[in-house]
């Protein structure tokens, strides 16, 4: 069942269009890759889906409701409870230990300190970095930091995880390990993933792939007889 949708999504930065009418569905538990060249609108789409950015026109529907019309406070609450967000790097709070970082979303949601800490350590264990629980990000490798960030993005059991080039800063083997765990956990708890990537081998972990080109969904290749250039539909 489709739980997150966009309809005719339009977003510009000044006079530069980023999205020019994007329609997209994300099913429950589905892993969807959004691919395309730099500047095609992938990240803007992800930010609109996650309720971080408001579109200029069109709709974002979360379980049938117009997310794009919600207040910043309501969208922010949704991001703390139902959504998880994962970027390429630099997301951990430098002053906090790994366990404190991972526990943070739970504390913000009102979970008790001890319970949050226990959950955080369990998640660090799942990502193979339990021994780093009391270590600060500055003393970790990039791969270890990304494992902690991934654990933090999943600790609240989100319904959708938005991941923007989550392995972009990692070597291919480390990236593969992080992604494999991420995908396994998402499948176990039926979390949908919107995976933005420009790498074919990363997109191959998804159930389905949508390619953006110049701010619209690229439908070319659906059939050799389809009308192609000039109009995307």
């Amino acid at each position: 069942m489709s739980q997150l949708q966009t309809r005719d999504l339009v977003k510009s930065y000044g006079r530069t269009p980023a999205l020019r009418g994007v329609a997209l569905d994300v099913d429950e538990g589905e892993i969807l890759a959004v691919t395309g060249p730099s500047g095609c609108g992938k990240s803007t789409l992800l930010h609109c889906l996650a309720g971080i950015l408001r579109p200029d026109a069109g709709q974002v529907l979360w379980r049938g409701e117009r997310l794009d019309t919600w207040s910043e406070a309501a969208r922010s609450r949704l991001r703390r409870t139902e959504f998880g967000v994962l970027f390429q790097f630099g997301q951990l709070v430098a002053e906090l230990t790994a366990a404190e970082n991972v526990a943070l979303p739970l504390l913000l949601a009102g979970t008790g300190r001890r319970e949050a800490r226990e959950a955080a350590v369990t998640w660090l264990h799942r990502f193979g970095v339990a021994e780093l629980a009391d270590v600060r990000p500055g003393e970790m490798s990039g791969g270890q930091q990304q494992r902690c960030a991934t654990a933090r993005a999943l600790v609240t059991g989100p319904r959708v995880l938005f991941a923007d080039e989550p392995t972009g800063a990692l070597d291919s083997l480390t990236g593969e390990e992080v992604l494999t765990t991420l995908v396994r956990v998402a499948r176990e708890q039926r979390t949908s993933i919107v995976l933005v990537t420009h790498e074919p081998r990363i997109a191959a972990y998804a159930d389905r792939e949508v390619t953006l080109r110049d701010g619209t969904v690229d439908h070319s290749g659906l059939g050799l007889d389809a009308p192609l250039i000039g109009g995307d539909r």
Binding site: P37, P200, R213, D214, D218, S220, G223, P227, L228, I229
Partner: protein
């Protein structure tokens, strides 16, 4: 092929059938080798003094000759393994040839459609291989072979993507369309 057989014999004496089976197990992504090819290769290796028959084995079935690696065979295997493979000077591929001919004869719409269809086929295969690699039963041999295939498909896909963009840009130039209007 001869070096693969030498490698398999380096782990212990074997007869032709065992060699065929070990080959197919060890290189699961390669095409299964034919018995005829195993026996032909063995007789060449024997002629060159790299392997030697060590006995006959019947086991109730047809008579089978067991082979062992000689010292020369071990040295030949060692030489082959320590020799660095030269990088291919230029990749010849049916895919490249086909795309080149497409760009020669097809209009831009058709060329883009062909490239996009090819990209879809590659993407589907890449997804299959990724699933195969993460299957619980995958052995290290499987993973190493699948990694090789994935890396090459990934390269093909990047190239297809770049070529698609080039074709689109070229088309814009010809039609003098603004860049945001493809």
């Amino acid at each position: 092929m001869p070096h693969v057989l030498l490698g398999l014999l380096a782990t212990g004496d074997k007869h032709g059938y065992e060699l065929k089976r070990a080959h197919d197990e060890r290189l699961p992504q390669a095409r299964p080798v034919a018995f005829g090819q195993v026996y032909a290769t063995l007789s060449r290796l024997q002629r060159d003094g790299l392997v030697v028959p060590t006995g006959q084995n019947r086991d109730g079935g047809p008579e089978r000759t067991t082979y062992a690696l000689t010292d020369d065979g071990r040295a030949a295997l060692d030489r082959w393994l320590t020799e660095v493979e030269p990088p291919l000077p230029y990749v010849a591929s049916t895919l490249l040839t086909k795309v080149a001919v497409t760009l020669l004869v097809a209009d831009v719409d058709r060329a883009r459609a062909c490239l996009a269809a090819q990209r879809q086929a590659h993407t589907a295969r890449l997804r299959e291989l990724t699933a195969l690699k993460h299957a619980p039963a995958a052995s290290l041999d499987d993973i190493v072979a699948v990694d090789f295939a994935i890396a090459h498909l990934d390269a093909d896909l990047r190239w297809l993507q770049t070529t698609l963009s080039r074709v689109a840009d070229w088309h814009r130039e010809v039609r003098h369309e603004p860049a945001t209007d493809s």
